[in-house]
Subunit: 587 residues, 2 copies
């Protein structure tokens, strides 16, 4: 029996929802798939639930193929395991916390590493039990600061999260690869183009991490890739460190007047005008060393200033900064921060001044000083002299100043070399659709998950964590599959296989439509049938286009000659077909 | 491919979990179906998830048969709709409440009447859109005070909740009946015996309500039923009111000394000894009027005393009291309450004293006075005289005292008449497995859900609400289907259709078992195969019994002769069968 629009709980809307900022949100609401309940919190209407279940089915099949077993954890979890790993605090405002009637602390889980670890600890004790991969498809919670992109970044969202357990590094590699392979199959079946990029594993304490990004110009993530096959998100890009240069024989640094040059551009102009290079080459921003002061807020609430030195032709990338300092939060230092540190002369900050070292833990300011990896020993710089309206020229790294360490803080630019030598990178934008992660022994260490190995020795288990945002990829599929008329689902996730509609007032069209529905369903395909008797063809066509089932059959005047029309939602092409041949013609 | 124990994520436990107070909890944990995460909060392991999904599938099929469409709402919902209906407050400590990062109030939904109402209001506006029935299978939250019975009363639990929308009372009756019929089919398919009892609809503000109870001596609900077909839970039982008696000619009441008679038993003894009836019939407890003082705590926090007068041979039933006064909470009045009301002479309280009326809003105490419906005008009573050590005899209802109303507060006893005249009732115990409810217009009124009727007039929609606790009925099935060895699943919900085990060290047994698995799966049945190579037959048999799949095949020594054993988990019977005939023999 087809699903009939006269009784189905489906209503399309003529107007875009006022709060929808992205296409998927707008179309999924208008076409009756979802309905907003609160910021980032949605109800699934019948037709939306069908798409979600199709995606889940594909994921389940590939998880089974990867040897993973399905479990289901609660969303409501006690504080203690998350306290043990530090995530109760590290998640900050992003975690929904609550108390029960006895005042015990609970959370709505954002991911489940802790309790999966404890479950396996509970039930397993021997290397013979391993490897193990378990997963769930479950509703998760994150209190996003700006939940404005519909399902792309919800506060309640469905996720497939899998966890692997091994007792050797080689075992983890194999489990990781099995999930990674499954992800490739899943995204291929879903018709979702993807790029696998190296991701930063730092914040989670793991050793290896890759993201599956769907390339799209509206993506919120930037990644780099080389023609030679390198791909990484910008947070994970590692700068190629040039060789150090000889210091011997370099001239001494000189402090020169540089009035009104608080920016790199004004400084370069002045240098070229007033202090041209003897060899005639122009000074450029790349010859200057820019020192940026940031304020970190640590988990315990303390505030620390830190300075970053980088070539003046590069900006700091706050996303890279964020990853580099996580879980501390970084921001630009404020006027108040400068006021408290009179050793810093704003606009003219440098690591060195005639009065002594200014940046670095052993310096006058005591402010930690980190350098871009390109600032190797022997490089010469124009930089602030920590004296108002003065810069120092020819300051040599490793001779005149040193740092407390290096940091990946500078923006990555098109043309930068891939760290694996595979050529220059280009920048692209994408949306994260999956993430695979070698957690290593971090969680097992903290929570005490050990097994006996072949020699009867207790060894700590090594873990992986693998996530796909189910509701998110549904939205991403909708983002990538629509036109000005509405949604255009790929067949693999279309809520129904075929949309049948009858037009006009002639009962013959409706009975022909019924016949068509029956014939299609006899081939195992599902049908949504627009059987509304008093709705104009224009409205019916508009709804069919908005809802976006890729194959449409129209039963109209032609039925008198035994003919209906096949309407391809993708190409827009309409083809007359004999009623008796519709099921075959659908391919 | 069979699911193999060597790789399946399933571990049975030898010991009962220490916190398990009920059989289902104990066995489901021991057999590896569930694992506790917090009080009343459980994780589902793979084999448990299979049972849960089988139950859900049956429910879905019957919901579809009843014409209901599946949707899925979030668990996290904003306060406002629940504030509008009063449930934000009325749920008291039972509601999990939380705030987001902006301080907005949210709850974890215990049921979803409000948001279903708002969804339909959002999308529908005409009588032509109705009737509509929509449902979800979704995880719900209630902060139970004592979550000690495993899945029987969880704090996070899965529920099927359906809601119907009609614009006429007759429509609601039909929608209600369709759900009620679906429930009968569901419980029949699940092999769950049930009784449909009238339930109290008061607290939810509705007009009609029935519960599906599974009769069991360990049930937490008491219900009554007559041979003539009446059935109700005790909260919904309505007392048959006797006819009033003539008052004219009854003798005047007299106050008599009754030293040391603070209880009904001591009072009856003294009355028979000191003040025998002229006609020689003994006084009994039924001749006395007992006055019980309760303290109500209203939602706004105010405390009110209320007195209930009932025949001395009946106790008050606190469950009936609870329903009668909901949402106020009732408890016995405390010593402090009595101390504040000197008009009440504890142990000798009555509605009347020689000094004037004592109970009732117009009385000396001003305490509201409610009577059992059996205390009709013209009945004569021995009751307290509100003087220490004195009772009054021959106090006549309607002549010497009146009340502010009647109340269904007295216990129901076996032999009490069914209110529909179908004979005396008996008492039984049961567990609630489903609840169907005519909400009427309460929610639609408050939230403004109206549609245009045939005449273009706005009418308020009338609703029904229908619930089945999925995880609860799973536990109830486990409660009713086990023996001292473990679980014994009914075929309809068994996690696998057949359990195959190979014993001994002879590879022939294992290859015969593989052959059996393949033959069974070829008939469309699912198989769990105990392929563990080095586990003793005793352990294997024990696990098979604990896990409780009803049909077991043992491949052991007999395979040399081409024979395996069919082991019926229900009867314990073992039957040799030719390997080639196993699939057929399973029926």
């Amino acid at each position: 029996m087809p699903t009939r629009l006269t009784t189905y709980f489906l209503r399309t809307l003529r107007e875009d929802p006022s709060d929808a900022e992205v296409t998927s949100h707008r179309l999924l609401v208008r076409a009756g798939y979802i309905r907003r309940q609160a910021p980032g919190v949605f109800a699934w209407l019948p037709i939306g639930l069908r798409v979600k279940e199709k995606i889940e089915r594909i994921i389940r099949e590939e998880m089974t193929n990867a040897g993973a077993h399905e479990v289901h954890f609660p969303a409501l979890l006690p504080r203690e395991p998350y306290e043990a790993t530090g995530r109760w605090t590290e998640y900050g405002d992003g975690l929904f916390r609550l108390q029960d009637r006895k005042g015990a602390d609970y959370l709505l889980a954002p991911t489940h590493e802790e309790v999966f670890t404890l479950l396996v600890k509970d039930l397993y004790n021997s290397y013979k039990d391993l490897p193990l991969s378990i997963y769930q498809i479950q509703d998760k919670y994150r209190d996003e600061a700006r939940p404005r992109a519909g399902l792309l970044r919800g506060r309640e969202f469905t996720m497939k999260d899998a966890y692997s357990f091994d007792y050797t590094d080689a075992g983890l590699d194999a489990s990781y690869q099995a999930q990674r392979d499954a992800y490739e199959r899943i995204f291929t079946r879903l018709g979702l183009e993807y790029v696998i990029v190296k991701a930063d594993a730092g914040a989670m304490g793991g050793s290896k991490s890759e993201e599956f990004l769907h390339p799209t110009v509206v993506g919120e993530d930037t990644f780099v890739r080389s023609a030679g096959g390198y791909a990484a998100n910008v947070e994970a890009y590692v700068t190629e460190v040039p060789d150090a240069l000889p210091i011997d024989g370099l001239p001494a640094a000189v402090v020169l007047d540089s009035p009104n040059t608080p920016t790199i551009a004004t400084l370069v102009d002045l240098a070229n005008a007033e202090y041209p290079r003897p060899d005639g080459r122009a000074w450029t921003a790349a010859d200057t060393l820019k020192n940026v002061v940031l304020a970190l807020t640590h988990l315990d609430g303390t505030r620390e200033l830190v300075a970053i030195g980088l070539p003046g032709d590069r900006e700091v990338d706050m996303k890279r900064i964020e990853v580099a300092f996580a879980p501390a939060e970084a921001e630009q230092a404020t006027e108040a921060d400068f006021a408290k540190n009179p050793a810093l002369v704003k606009g003219y900050i440098g690591p060195w001044s005639p009065l002594g070292a200014v940046l670095g833990e052993e310096s006058a300011s005591g402010i930690r000083f980190l350098l871009d990896p390109r600032v190797v020993d022997g490089t010469e710089w124009i930089t602030g002299a920590n004296l108002d309206q003065k810069h120092v020229f020819g300051l040599v790294a490793g001779r005149d100043f040193t740092a407390d360490g290096t940091i990946e803080a500078a923006e990555v630019r098109a043309g930068d070399p891939a760290p694996d030598g595979s050529g220059p990178v280009e920048l692209a934008r994408g949306m994260e659709i999956g993430h695979v992660f070698q957690l290593g022994r971090k969680y097992a260490d903290v929570l005490g998950l050990k097994v006996l190995d072949e020699n009867g020795k207790l060894v700590t288990v090594t873990m992986g964590s693998y996530g796909i945002g189910v509701t998110r990829i549904l939205a991403i599929i909708a983002e990538g599959n629509n036109d000005d008329k509405g949604l255009v689902w790929p067949a693999a996730v279309s809520p129904f296989d075929v949309y049948v509609l009858a037009t006009g007032k002639d009962p013959a069209a409706f009975s022909a439509a019924e016949q068509v529905c029956a014939a299609i369903e006899a081939t195992g395909r599902s049908v949504l049938y627009d059987d509304r008797p008093k709705v104009s063809p224009g409205v019916k066509f508009g709804d069919a286009e908005l809802i976006g089932i890729p194959k449409i059959v129209i039963a109209g005047r032609g039925v008198a000659e035994g003919v209906v029309e096949l309407w391809d939602r993708v190409t827009g092409e309409r083809t007359p077909v004999a009623i008796t041949e519709v099921a075959d013609a659908l391919g």
